[in-house]
Structures are given as structure tokens and as C-alpha cells.
């Protein structure tokens, strides 16, 4: 179908940004919904842009359907539980006054990396890669720093995702459905 909307104004070439936004006229009641939708879309885009999430997360969102409506939330919760456990383990191992059991730390990092990549937590996954390097070089201080960062990222991501879920709830309560 030709894009009839894009009518170039006379004596003027080019497509200006103002003409890009063609608002479709919808009944007013839908405004809230569409607004929420747009908000959600923007937020999700920003999360992707900032690297918090990658396409694996989108895959997960795809898997959510009528048979498993809370799939994503479940996975994410499990992930954060796991994350917490692993972080605690690693903290304990790294704060050993005597010899640090780097092997254990390494296996925990490996687990965390696997989990974060399954969930699509891009930043955490990348941190794990750096963490692993420190582990391999048995650098206690480096590991400590990485661990702190991982912790911080986890918390950050948790908050972000909570916001995301809140937005989704808004849509659902407004009568829409996700995935859109």
C-alpha cells in the first residue's frame, strides 16, 4: 500500500519530522490505554538502549501467553533469588581471611552468568565476564569490586523491572493485554 499520508508540501522536498507523526484518531477512552502502552514501550526501549536488557528478555516476553501469563515475572523472580544466593555465597568466600576458594567463586560466577544470559540481563552478564577474569587471575580485590558492582546492578535491575511490571499492570487494568 503506498504511503499516501506522506504528501510532500508544494515546492518543498523532504520529509520533516513533523510530518512523521501521524496520529491516528481513536476514541478518547483508548487514550489512557495508548498512553500507557506508549509509556511501556518507551520504558522498555530505554531499558534496552541502556543495556539493562537484551533480546533474550524480549524472547521471554514472547513466551508469555494465556497459558503462562506470569511467565516473565516468575522467571525474573527466580533469577533475583538465585542472584541473591550467589552473591551471598561469593561474598562469604571472598571475605575468607585465609586462602580464598576461587574455585567456588568461579563456579558461582559461572552460574550467575548462565542465569543472567537466560533472562536477558545484559549488564549483569557482561559484569560476570569481567568477574571471571578476576577470578582466573585470583585477584581478590578485583573480585570484591566486581561483586559490589554485580550487587549494585542486581538492585538496579530489580527496581527497573518492578517499574516495568507496574506499567504492565496498568495496561492490564486499563483493559489492554500484554504482549501488545
Amino acid at each position: 500500500m503506498p504511503l499516501h499520508h506522506y504528501r510532500p508540501p508544494p515546492n518543498h522536498g523532504g520529509i520533516t519530522s513533523t510530518q512523521q507523526q501521524q496520529v491516528t484518531h481513536q476514541p478518547p477512552a483508548m487514550d489512557v490505554l495508548s498512553q500507557s502502552r506508549r509509556q511501556l514501550a518507551d520504558y522498555t526501549n530505554s531499558l534496552h538502549r541502556d543495556g539493562f536488557l537484551d533480546d533474550q528478555f524480549s524472547q521471554l516476553q514472547q513466551l508469555q501467553d494465556e497459558s503462562s501469563p506470569d511467565f516473565v515475572m516468575e522467571v525474573v523472580s527466580l533469577f533475583f533469588e538465585d542472584c541473591q544466593k550467589l552473591v551471598t555465597n561469593m561474598a562469604r568466600a571472598l571475605s575468607e581471611l585465609q586462602a580464598v576458594d576461587f574455585k567456588q567463586v568461579d563456579s558461582s560466577v559461572h552460574q550467575l552468568k548462565g542465569s543472567s544470559s537466560s533472562v536477558g540481563a545484559a549488564r549483569i552478564k557482561n559484569l560476570c565476564v569481567a568477574f571471571k577474569t578476576c577470578c582466573d587471575s585470583q585477584n581478590r580485590d578485583g573480585c570484591m569490586r566486581c561483586l559490589q558492582e554485580v550487587n549494585r546492578e542486581c538492585v538496579l535491575l530489580k527496581n527497573k523491572l518492578q517499574t516495568l511490571f507496574r506499567l504492565e499492570q496498568q495496561i492490564i487494568s486499563a483493559g489492554g493485554s500484554i504482549p501488545m
Partner: protein
Amino acid sequence: MESCNCIEPQLPPDELLSKYQYISDFFIALAYFSIPLELIYFVKKSAVFPYRWVLVQFGAFIVLCGATHLINLWTFTIHSRTVAIVMTTAKILTAVVSCATALMLVHIIPDLLSVKTRELFLKNKAAELDREMGLIRTQEETGRHVRMLTHEIRSTLDRHTILKTTLVELGRTLSLEECALWMPTRTGLELQLAYTLRQQNPVGYTVPIHLPVINQVFSSNRAVKISPNSPVARLRPLAGKYPGEVVAVRVPLLHLSNFQINDWPELSTKRYALMVLMLPSDSARQWHTYELELVEVVADQVAVALSHAAILEESMRARDLLMEQNVALDLARREAETAIRARNDFLAVMNHEMRTPMHAIIALSSLLQETELTPEQRLMVETILKSSNLLATLINDVLDLSRLEDGSLQLDLGSFNLHSAFREVINLIRPIASVKKLVVTLHLAPDLPEYATGDEKRLMQTLLNVVGNAVKFSKEGSISITAFVAKAESLRDPRAPDFFPVPSDNHFFLRVQVKDTGSGINPQDYPKLFTKFAQSQSLATKNSAGSGLGLAICKRYHMLVIRFVNLMDGHIWLESEGLGKGCTAIFMVKLGVTECCTESKLPPATNASMNHAQTAFPGLKVMVMDDNGVSRMVTKGLLVHLGCDVTTVSSGDECLRLISQDHHVVFIDVCMYDGYEVALRVHEKLTKRHERPLTVALTANSDKATKDHCRRVGMNGVVLKPVSVDKMRTVLSDLLEHRNLV
């Protein structure tokens, strides 16, 4: 006195005289008796004496004569009558025999004389034969010498040796004082002393070639006696007072070209060498004919031997040259192969590098398409998808130029909506055109069928390219595209004399004209536009952005376009009224007429197997082994989404406990410490190949080592974590179709 019977002699003469007579008779008798004896003796001794009868006769004659004379002895004194009778008898006998002998001798003597003549004759003959024998023997000697010489000469193919041997052997055979060979110089104007017998290093003497003596020798093929004072013969200081006789003979220097197949070489060759032979001085020897003949024969042989040597030299040189060339060619071939391999590697890598982001774009856009979108968004996404598909195809095609050049490119036939294809291309081009303030118009003839069979993508590519070029080379004005069905008369174009389109019932020729108002083309540049490497000097080149590279790439596309058009049994050409008057690109392609209106949507350029992929796998029993809870959950969710019946396990023992033949697929996380072992155990436990579940490795590592390991333990496939929905779909359908991940 009584009359006695004794015969009284006559009055005795003197006593002395009688005595002498008496003695003489005695001796005569003796002689006469001894002659036959001698005769007999000697005849007996000799082997051959044909006249024995004569001998007997003669002997008898002589004996009787002797007897007569003997008896005569008794008649000197008084002798009795008996003696007289005996005497008489003897005398009578003698008379008879002598007469007989005399008569016989008449016959005999001429015979004897003729014997003598014959003897003489035979002696002469013998002398003559001897002479001739001598001659033959010398000739044979000569022949032997020649053979030996020839053998010596021919036993080597080295030019130098040949000539040296010739001189040495000739010198030996003929006992020469000096023997020399003069060769013509490169210029052919002089003869240079090349070899001599006695002197070790011949001084590089030269004599001009046109001396009369030399001409004389060259003009005849015989050995010619020349004066010892001629320049060619003055080779060494005179050893003696009288220089020996000198003979010179020409040696033809034959070239390969002189030899015809069945012909003796033409001696029209101009090049001769000169052989000069000198007899020893003060020897009073003379050149004999046979010696001259020997020299001539030798000269011929030398000529042949030399030519053989020359031929051999040439062929050796040719062979060396060929070998060198071979080596060079080999090197060049290897370099070319390396270059081709490098190019292919580069293409492959670039292919991959360029395809990956393309696939990402296409995949994400298609995913996006499946989500809920506003109509504008949907349109945008569709446009993105279509453009990306086109671009992907273009990348595929451009980067597979080698395939293109092989001619192994094939059309992807299918029915499609012709009108919408055009409109899509226009839509793609319009934004660019409007930036340049160009107006793009499309006019589709009313009799243009809506649907057609052909390669939609390639047609669109061609169109896009041609229209794109029109836009590129026009700074202002308008681009008008017209498409119609070519009629019979318009099928033949005077500008394309080798284009013979034959329309048929099932096919029609689509004719598209793209007219622009750009800078036009110089008519002289027509042929160059569609050739690969020609550089057009027209304004178009100078003014378009990125001129050099742009034109080169443009040419490249032209090649693609030409190939596509050719593949579609068509033709493409340009018309222009001149510089600044714009130009029209016209192409015609053959399309199939299609009755049905079913439209096949543009398939995505990625995973063709996606078309065949099932969207759900109901009832597929899958087991997932992963020790990471989150991964497990995600993978399970994925498989459940695809409709599978999933069992999850978190340890190897659990897996082996629960695995059974009912399971169709087992996903094993091989990053687990016992991942591979579990795979092996599964294979051991369920040995029947067609009943046991397919094992697939899930791993975050896609390196070769992992893949090899998986293959070694007999796993049916490797999948990279994290897996997308589409990927899992593909994996499952591939597994089910092929029982292996291809």
C-alpha cells in the same frame, strides 16, 4: 783276295779327320741320347705338359738319330754287313720318324707359339687385375676411413667435438700437414678461422667472404685445389721450401628449414663453411682422386652432423625455455589460486559479517511484526522488512559475484503481483528522490497483467537499480517510469540487433522505460556504459557524488542488472538524445503469464527453513537437563510455548533415571561437569538408534572444541544459549526432519 761281305769303306780319308768324325759322332750320339732323357726327366717333373705324344715322337726321333750316329761309329772301320743293316734300319727308322715329327711339328709349333701368346696375354691381364685390385683396395680403405670418420663425427652431438674430430681424423687418414675450418661470421661477410688441426688456439683471423678463390670453392660441391698462397691457406709459416698441395671444400651449413619431409635438403642455403686441407710440404705428394672424394664425402657428413647438432641445440634450448615457462606458469597458477582462495575467504567472511546484522534486522523486524502495532507502525515495519529483504538478497547476490560470473545463478520463480512490485520500488525510491527534489511518476499500462510469474526479487532489484541510477544522475526534474507489455513490432529494437524475443502464449515481454532529465549520455559512450571497466568521461561521471568509485560500483550493478536481465531472457539498453538532454533506460524481460491470483508473499531472506518450520510441536516429549534454575525455567518456558511436553532435571543421575524411549529430544547443558558423560550414558542406555531420543547440547560456547566433543560423544546437535523462540522452532523442526542439526 776273296770277296768278303764286309763293306770296304771308301778310301780312308785322313786318319785325323776320321778320328774327329768318330769323336763327334760319339758325342752327338751321347747328346742325342741324353736330350730325351732330360726331356723325360723335366717333363716328368712338370705337372702340365699337354704334348706327351709329341715328346715321345721327338724322343724317338732323337734316339734314333743318336742311334744312327752311334752306329755310325762302327762304320768308320771295317764293319760287317749286320752293322750295315742295322745302320740302314736305324737310318730308315730315323727317316720315318723324323718325317713324321716334321709333319707333326707343323701342327705343333703354332700351338706352342699360341700358348706363348696366351701366356703373355694372361700375364697382362693379371697385371691389370692387380692394378684394379689395388684400386679397389684403396677405395675400400677410403670407404673405411670415411665410415670411421663419420662414426667419429656422428658419435657426438656437440658441435665443437664434431669439427675437431673431423679435422683430427682427416689429418690422420690423409696425413695432412694442416687442416683448417673457416666459419662464416654472423654478418655473413667474412670467414673466420674457427678450428685448426695443429694450432691450439686459432687466432681469430678473418678473410672477406667474397674472394674469388672462395667463390670458386663455394660454387662447386667438389673439393677444389687451391693455391697455397691464397689467404685461406696461409695458416702457418712454411715448414719447408715447397708447400704441399692445398685443397678446399665447402661445407654447407644447413638449417632446420632446409629439410623438407621427403626431400633432400635444398642446397639453396647460402651459408657455407670452408675446409682447407694441406698436404705436407716437401713431400711431393699429390692429391689423388680418391682422397678428394674422401674429402668431399667427409664434408657432406660434417654438414649433416652439424645440422643435427644445431637441431639438438635448438630443441634443448626450446625445452629449457618451456621448462622455465612451465615453472613460471605453475607459480602464476599457484598465485592465482591463492588469490582466488583469498578472495573467496574474504567473500565468505564478508558474507558472514554482512549477513549477521542483516539477519538481526530481519529477525527483529519479523518479531516486531508479530507484536501488536499501530497501522502506521505496521507499515513502517513492513517497509523495513521489505527493504531489508531486498538488501539481504542484494548482499547475497553481490557477494556471490563469483557464482554470478560462473553463470550458476538461477532465477527464483514464483507468481507475484506485478503492479505492487512496481509500487514498492517507487515507494522505496521516492524518499531519496524527494530529497533531490525530483518528481517520480509511475505509469502502468492498462493491459499490463496484475500478476505474473518470474523472479520478483530480481525484477525489483533490476528496477530499483535502473531507477536508482536515473535518480542518481539527475540533479533536477523528473523521473518517469512506464511499464507495458511489449508488442511484436516493438520487440525488435534497431539498437539491439541480436535480440530476438519470441513471445509465446505462456509468456509476455514486460517493457519498462525509465526516463530521466539528467545529464544524458554522449552517444559515443553507449557501449562503455555496460562494460565493466570502461571509464566514461561524460558529465555524469564528473558531477555525481563519489564519481570514480560510484561509477565503478554502478558498473558493477550494471553487470548484475545485465545478468539478471539476460537470465530473464531480456535485454537492456539506453537511449539518449545527447548530453544534457536526459536519458532513457529501457529494459525488457520475459515474464510468465499466470492465471491464478494467489500471491506468494515475499519470503524472508533468512532461514528458508522457517517456511517449513512447524509453529508447534504438540506432544513432543522433551527432557531438559540444566543445573542452572533460571536457564532451566527459561528453556522449559520456551519449549512449552512451542507446545512440547517438557521434563526438567537438574543432575545427571536424575536424567538417567528418568530418560526413556518415550522422550523424543533431550537437551543437555554440556557446561555441566558431567554433561558429556550423561550424553554417553543416554546413548548406552538406549541403544536402538531409531528409538532413542535425539540429544542436543546446550552451550554458551560455540567454539570448535565444544562442537567436536559433542560430535565425538554422538550428540545430534549443538545449540547456542540463549535460544530464541525462532531458533528453537528451527532446531526442533530440523531435528524432526533430519534427525540431526544441519
